[in-house]
């Protein structure tokens, strides 16, 4: 039975956006934790660690997100690890995101001039103390605009979770389109909702970047 695409459907779509945001938040947490580890590993003096991390980042950045999604959701169960769509999506997005976020944060850490390290060292601070009191505080300000930009990427990426059946905004859109036979109207609505989530963040990231340029 075909129903009309009505206001109620729009509300359901907006409600589904909740899951998009929830998935984004989860994936961001995962990416952040892993990304921080990667960033620090990349600037550590331990050669093999740097090399290994760089290899990981290259591999992840060189494969499509869909591959990770399907590998984890369809592949792992065959090895005896059971995963539900949520876990699979969260894991896949975290792995994928950590490579990009890690690079962003490494860039922020690396952009702090060598002279800052030298100043800290000359005062007798240990590497950890230098990181904690001198380098990281300055890096955070630099890292914020691109991190917000990354968040936008993440929100868009969550749409791929639909391909493994997870009900977030895009999947809800597919179901609604099938039920109402009005794909154009449905997907336009879906696009508008994504835009409403992403655009403010994009603008915020830009204004943050401008403020940063002024301050420098």
């Amino acid at each position: 039975m075909i129903r009309t695409f009505s206001y109620i459907d729009v509300m359901y779509l907006v409600a589904a956006a909740r899951w998009t945001l929830a998935l984004t938040a989860t994936a961001f947490a995962g990416s952040a934790v892993l990304g921080l580890v990667l960033a620090i590993a990349r600037i550590s003096p331990v050669g093999p660690l740097r090399w290994l991390t760089a290899a990981y980042i290259h591999v992840v950045q060189g494969t499509p997100l869909l591959v990770w999604l399907f590998l984890i959701f369809f592949g792992l169960p065959l090895l005896g690890v059971s995963v539900n769509p949520w876990l699979a999506a969260a894991l896949a997005f975290s792995i994928y995101g950590s490579a990009f976020l890690g690079e962003i944060w490494r860039g922020a850490l690396a952009s702090i001039a060598r002279t800052q390290w030298e100043a800290g060292a000359s005062l007798g601070l240990s590497v950890y103390e230098q990181l904690r009191h001198v380098i990281v505080p300055q890096s955070i300000r630099i890292a914020i605009p691109p991190t917000v930009g990354f968040l936008v990427q993440l929100i868009k990426n969550t749409s791929l979770a639909a391909t493994i059946g997870l009900v977030e905004l895009t999947r809800e859109g597919q179901l609604t389109a099938a039920g109402t036979y009005r794909p154009f109207a449905v997907y336009i609505t879906v696009a508008i909702i994504y835009f409403a989530m992403c655009f403010p963040l994009t603008q915020w990231s830009r204004s943050l970047e401008r403020k940063l340029d002024v301050a420098r």
Binding site: L71, Q174, P183, F184, Y187
Partner: protein
């Protein structure tokens, strides 16, 4: 663990996989060309165009960059038929990808041109060169050199992103994976192999672009 990793079945389905690679490559290359053309045109419009044109381009860029590629794809493939425009998978995929890449390319091209210092153009004008001459002899080459790395990066990302077209049944490399999977039921191995293939393609493209950069901009 009762499951033994078995790659032999995957290699037996090699021809399906190769067909998929071909489709992915074809789609990628055509999209890169199309996306670049769109990007250069829109960047020019943004820098030299009238006020209303600038606004149209800005809206295009912002809408595309703040919505997912998958949704854009669905809109074109599933949505357009409502208006009587029924496209086959490949065509819809190409259009969606070009529109998508075009938006990102516009920004990269624009940044490349803005990276040429104003002082360079002033020196050119002061020597009596016309606007067009300044553009051709002084701006174009440094701008291309400036935008090349970001462009190459975006193109590799695009090649990987073409995997989404599998969702509208275009028989690209990722789609080939599901064919092999339905035959062998060895999901883990299939997606690992496909992943490695994408990695190889990304590596190849990166190398190609690095080579082009070296040949065009570094050697003298």
């Amino acid at each position: 663990m009762k499951y033994g990793l078995q790659f032999r079945d995957i290699f037996a389905a090699w021809d399906s996989i190769l067909d998929g690679v071909l489709v992915t490559l074809t789609l990628s290359v055509w999209t890169m060309l199309g996306g670049l053309a769109v990007g250069v045109t829109c960047a020019a419009a943004k820098v030299y165009g009238a006020g209303w044109l600038k606004r149209v381009v800005t809206i295009y860029v912002e809408v595309i960059r703040n919505t997912p590629l998958l949704v854009q794809l669905f809109l074109i493939f599933f949505g357009l038929p409502s208006f009587g425009i029924r496209l086959d998978g490949m065509t819809a995929a190409l259009i969606a990808l070009v529109i998508n890449l075009g938006a990102y390319t516009t920004e990269i091209v624009r940044a490349g041109f803005e990276a040429v210092p104003k002082a360079q153009m002033e020196a050119g004008h002061s020597l009596g060169l016309s606007g067009l001459q300044v553009f051709r002899y002084i701006v174009v080459f440094p701008a291309l050199k400036a935008m090349f790395p970001a462009l190459a990066s975006q193109f590799v990302l695009l090649m990987l992103a073409t995997s989404v077209v599998s969702q509208i049944s275009v028989e690209d490399l990722f789609h080939a994976a599901s064919i092999v999977q339905s035959r062998t039921f060895r999901d883990f191995e299939v997606y690992t192999v496909i992943g490695v293939l994408y990695l190889a393609l990304a590596f190849a493209f990166r190398g190609l672009f690095a080579g082009i950069y070296y040949w065009a901009f570094v050697r003298r």
